[in-house]
Structure formats: structure tokens, C-alpha cells
Symmetry: C2
Subunit: 210 residues, 2 copies
């Protein structure tokens, strides 16, 4: 099994290869691919070596072939249905983002607890109460969910999703949620990412902006 | 210098300690802290050892003290001004998100290129054309920026920001942008995070949802 850090990089390879394909590029060296993703060529070769012999010494990788192979590894030869819980400002932006369906991720259910929102239409879906989650998960064979609720509600929502059978959760709430073994969770936390950069900025004097 | 992976975890420690503080917890063991953040106690101790002797054997960490110390390490004893480029659905949600200012991050400028948006007010700020970036960066001593434009525009916007003197960029556009040495960038890419979980789901048979 490849380490999780390698699995997390695979979608970046896939995304970058898809851009290269759009640009009409037919083959790419690990140097070129690495430069686009900000990792070393050696890292690329090591990462990909977990998944078999994918490139040729001195020739590099065929873009179409490698993209197809990585997509298959990532389970992207099939589409995935997801539900979205939390339809505030952020949730609405997520629901409207076309980047999900372009990459085979289809939002099939929108949930909230706000009576003023329930029953409203958004992107062709009717916002439902969270107590309908398990019905929608079952009907649409949903295995993944996106959580965009407030921090205080996130763990309860995650518990409901897990109970409904969801196995992977992308959490935008600014709290680290707990999930049982066998359930995956990734966090999106812009404040923490900004703070991980203030660390460095605080150590440098700002360059002169005269 | 601690490795970047440790620096990236520090804000999670800070966030978790702030929650513990709100809950009235006075001291915490590395086990308890680790359980909240999903890392091992050994990892916590190793991470924190980069920044001096912070806990006491058998007693653990004083929550107030450790939080104060980590905030200082992260440069959070001061507030930070940021600009936001791209005021579409996502950018609007970002501008409206109170979680930034609660953690000392203040959005002081909103920028777009859409003539229909420029001049509009949002969260008390007037949306300006991107050609005003350098003026605002200079006036408000801005060192960080958030980018929420389309993938095709992201690199150009990042180049403008870097030219204006911005040193750290949080990029929501689904493309890995290039920055010169001395400039930091973090990416938020929900599709890639979801795909890094489909990898695992594709390897398991979904459990029965009968």
C-alpha cells in the first residue's frame, strides 16, 4: 500500500496531466511534471513506482497513458455521487462550483437545518432537512459527502453521515472531526493554511515596498 | 528549522487548544491533544520539541501557556491584512466568512476584473479592478492574499500579487501556481481531496446498505 501522502499527490498528477493533454502535450518527463507540481523528479518517479512500471527511461511518460492509468488507480473510471450538508454562503458556492461535475463528482443532495432554506431550489436540487440524509444516501448510492456547516454542528453532521453509510467526508468546518475506522475524512481549513504561512512571514522582515 | 509538515500542523494545535480553552480545560496530555487532531502522542511531542521544552513529563501541557506559545511561533500575536482576488460565488463566500477576522486575518481589499462587479460593495469594501492591487497592498501593508479566480486566470493573478509585494498566497483555483523563491503558496483543491479518497473507496466494496 502506498503511504497516504502519495495517494494525496496522485490527484495533482492527474489534474496536471489533464492540463498537459489539453495543451496537446504528448509526453512528459518526470522533471517537467515535477516542475508543474512543485515536487522533484525523483519524488514523481518514487510515487509512481508504487503503481507499477509507468514510464520509460529517457523517454518519460506518455501523457494519455499515464493520465488514464492514474484515473483508474483513483477510481475515476466511474462517477461518484456526493451529498452536501450546509447550504450557507460557502455551501451555496460549493453547490454552484462546476469543477466537481467536470471531474465526475455529482452533488445529488443538499441538506440544511434552517427552515428558511428547506424546500428552496438550488442548482436544480431541493434543499432537504438533514433527517432525510440516509434516504438520499441509500437512493443514490452515495459514499461521499461534503460538510459546510458551522464548527459546532460539524461532528453531529458527520455522525449522521457515517450512520447513513457515508465512507468519505470532505469537511470545510473549522474543527477536526472524528470518524470511525474505515471512514475517510479530509479537512479544508483556510485559516490554518494562512497561519502556516504567517509562521514564515513573521520570521522575515517584509521587503521594502517604497 | 522545523520541516514544513510540522509548521502546517501547528495551526491545528492552536485551533484545538483554543477549543479546549473555551471548554475550560486547563491542561492536556499529548495523548488527549493527539486524539483530537488524529496524530499520535509521540508525533505531538516530536513536533513541539522543535520549539523548545513546552510540556512537563507526566503533567502534560498547560493549555493557556501552550496556546500562547504556539500563537507567538505562528506570528499570531499580530493581526494580518490580506487581499482577496476573485469575487465570484466562492470569493463572496470567502469575503463573508467570519472565521478569518476571528483569527486575526482581515480582508482589506476585494478585486475582480468583471466590470459588472467593480464598484459594488461587499462586507463594507468596494470591489476594485485588479490593476489597483499594488496600491492597496502598499497602503495596508498587505503580505498575504487569497486567490479565488478561475484556473485560467490564476497564474496571471499570482504574478500580479507577487509583483505587488505579496509574500504568501492561498490559492483556491484548481491549478498549481508557480511562485518565485521567498514567496509561499498553499492550495485548496476540494476535487483533489475527494479524489484522494475515491482511491480508497474504489478498493473496498461498499458495505451493504439494505
Amino acid at each position: 500500500m502506498p503511504p497516504d501522502v502519495v495517494v494525496r499527490r496522485l490527484p495533482l498528477y492527474a489534474r496536471t496531466l489533464a492540463y498537459l493533454q489539453q495543451e496537446g502535450v504528448k509526453s512528459v518527463s518526470s522533471q517537467e511534471l515535477g516542475a508543474r507540481i512543485n515536487v522533484t523528479a525523483a519524488q514523481i518517479r518514487k510515487d509512481l513506482s508504487y503503481f507499477g512500471q509507468l514510464g520509460k527511461q529517457g523517454i518519460g511518460y506518455k501523457v494519455d497513458e499515464l493520465l488514464h492509468h492514474i484515473n483508474r488507480i483513483l477510481g475515476l473510471s466511474q462517477d461518484w455521487n456526493v451529498v452536501l450538508v450546509g447550504v450557507g454562503h460557502l455551501g451555496q458556492a460549493i453547490a454552484r462550483y462546476s469543477g466537481f461535475s467536470e471531474k465526475g463528482i455529482h452533488i445529488v443532495g443538499l441538506f440544511d437545518t434552517d427552515p428558511k432554506k428547506i424546500g428552496n431550489e438550488l442548482v436544480g436540487l431541493t434543499i432537504q432537512h438533514v433527517n432525510q440524509i440516509s434516504t438520499v444516501v441509500r437512493e443514490h448510492n452515495v459514499r461521499m459527502a461534503i460538510v459546510a456547516v458551522a464548527a459546532e454542528q460539524a461532528q453531529d453532521v458527520v455522525n449522521m453521515l457515517v450512520k447513513a453509510g457515508v465512507e468519505a467526508i470532505l469537511n470545510y468546518a473549522p474543527v477536526i472531526v472524528q470518524v470511525p475506522d474505515g471512514v475517510w475524512v479530509r479537512h479544508i481549513d483556510p485559516v490554518s493554511l494562512l497561519h502556516s504561512m504567517t509562521y514564515y512571514l513573521a520570521r522575515e522582515s517584509p521587503f521594502e515596498k517604497a
